[in-house]
Amino acid sequence: MVEWTDSERAIITSIFSNLDYEEIGRKSLCRCLIVYPWTQRYFGGFGNLYNAETILCNPLIAAHGTKILHGLDRALKNMDNIKNTYAELSLLHSDKLHVDPDNFRLLADCLTVVIAAKMGSAFTVETQVAWQKFLSVVVSALGRQYH
């Protein structure tokens, strides 16, 4: 089981309580699709992804980015049981969506960059350590049910 210090819990809770889900969700997913274009393979039904500009204006991508961030909420609310919280979502990504789990790490990295931009100097070393630990637990849980 993952051990969280009080400080880590406080940091993660604080990030989420100040989060604009729509802004950060949209920016993170767009950044992932632009920086790692092979991730676009999973978004065939999402309209125009022709270039960076069209991706950034795409309302379906924006909505999906928000959805993903709200999905992270589940981990926040169940920090001591992230593995089981995401069991069903993991199966969904494996069996239905057929997403290569390495993509979770790519999106997590983009999310980190976007949050760093938003928080600026408030994204301290300690904050980054806690945040990346949280994301790596999420990424691991999402990949766990692959078979």
Partner: protein, 143 residues
Amino acid sequence: MSLSAKQKATVKDFFGKMATRSDDIGAEALSRLVAVYPQTKSYFAHWKSASPGSAPVRKHGITIMGGVYDAVGKIDDLKAGLLSLSELHAFMLRVDPVNFKLLAHCMLVCMSMVFPEEFTPQVHVAVDKFLAQLALALCEKYR
């Protein structure tokens, strides 16, 4: 995944903008590397301290960023330009190449923190590609 002419220009432009803050960013990036990925401290066991924010870590981060800037100037032929640095990393330092990616990520995070407006997704992809090409050039002599 080589850089287009436009991406090379984007990299040069962004690094130009970054120049006044490059020492800070280099120092911060290495501090974050050893904090977020503690296994990387294994390369610095010979230092008095390898903890984030310590003097040797900050100093070395600045050195590394200096090397990155040097590479920007050699962007048209990184392999040839970084030959001696590659020999250093291959035969003396023997840094596992996976760590170049980890440091690159920390650099991108710092760039994003310091230049939130300028570090657009388009700049991000160009810089990420450049750092990946740089890492490849550093690995050239590994085997």
